[in-house]
């Protein structure tokens, strides 16, 4: 974590934000170009450090960041990346969101990337949020393909995604939305004795026809 010099603060403040309160940037120290997230135009967190933000998940305070951040005069270049340039924006953003432990409904809007895949676990084979044309209705939740790899059974899905319905979510739908579909990404909050902690992705306006496949059935437990 780096506290950015004033001169770079001014550069960053002249550029648009990637989302509310942060910019995703590429910066150069020595000959090495790296990516990271800048908070409030003053604290730079390398993309490999985002996991460490979890320590602040119970009360994200800017002062905590400032105490921890080290000043650096070694940054030679810094530029805010446009969304099109950020191949791994979702991974970075998701890591950041995990650190902040924010549910999807409270997250800022982001966009799907090319060929990104999502999964939806359901206790219902005839899941009504899947349209007859193979799309998703607006306001439908999914998870990322990567997060879904943590789930092998319907019971595990109930626990990881804190589903109030105890019936095992054994039907798994695959969603392949077009690039730039509007979503909100966050972390599932615990519910009663269910741990949560999985990634949740809310499709704000749904997903068009012919973008949902399945379901595939997994074991109940």
């Amino acid at each position: 974590m780096i506290r950015i010099e004033k001169k770079w603060e001014e550069v960053l403040l002249s550029k648009p934000e990637t989302g509310m309160g942060y910019q995703i940037v590429e910066y150069k120290i020595g000959r090495i170009k790296q990516k990271g997230i800048v908070l409030n135009a003053e604290i730079l967190i390398n993309e490999n450090e985002v996991e460490s933000l979890k320590q602040f998940s119970l009360g994200l305070k800017e002062t905590k960041f400032l105490e921890t951040a080290e000043s650096s005069r070694n940054i030679e270049e810094i530029e805010v990346l446009s969304r099109k340039e950020i191949i791994s924006i979702d991974e970075i953003f998701l890591g950041f969101m995990k650190g902040m432990n924010i549910p999807a409904k409270d997250a800022k809007v982001s966009y799907t990337t090319k060929n990104e895949v999502f999964k939806r676990f359901s206790a219902f084979k005839n899941d009504k949020r899947i349209t007859p044309e193979g799309g998703l209705l607006p306001g439908t939740y999914t998870t990322t393909e990567e997060d879904a790899k943590n789930v092998k059974t319907g019971k595990e899905a109930v626990d990881r995604y804190a589903l109030p319905n105890d019936d095992p979510a054994i039907y798994v739908f695959t969603v392949k939305p077009p690039e730039d579909t509007e979503v909100k990404r966050g972390v599932v909050q615990p519910l009663d004795d269910k741990k949560g902690g999985g990634v949740e992705v809310l499709f704000i306006n749904g997903s068009p026809s012919n973008t949902v496949e399945g379901p595939v059935e997994i074991p109940a437990e």
Binding site: P103, K105, R120, F121, S122, A123, F124, N126, D127, K128, R129, L137, P138, G139, T140, Y141, T142, T143, Y161, A162, L163, P164, N165, D167, A169, V188, Q189, P190, L191, D192, E200, L202
Partner: protein
């Protein structure tokens, strides 16, 4: 206790966003004026009611709206 909702309610719920994957948290208004707050509907179709409302049928329901109680059980 789970109640299977009629098509009218299913249609209404499908036009509302989910609260989480596969469910919505709703408030249910009954004919007698009682309001059941913060209960779950699964797949826009199955309403889970507390035991205290065991005698309630779908004919008793006047309205279903998304709950204002937050998603995680804390008012």
């Amino acid at each position: 206790m789970k109640l299977r909702l009629s098509k009218v309610w299913v249609k209404k719920l499908l036009n509302l966003p989910e609260t989480g994957m596969g469910y919505q948290k709703v408030d249910v208004l009954l004919k007698d004026g009682r309001k059941i707050e913060g209960v779950f509907v699964y797949n826009a179709e199955f309403l889970e009611l507390p035991e205290a409302y065991q005698g309630v049928t779908i004919n008793d329901i006047v309205d279903i709206t998304l709950s204002k109680i937050n998603d995680f059980g804390n008012n």
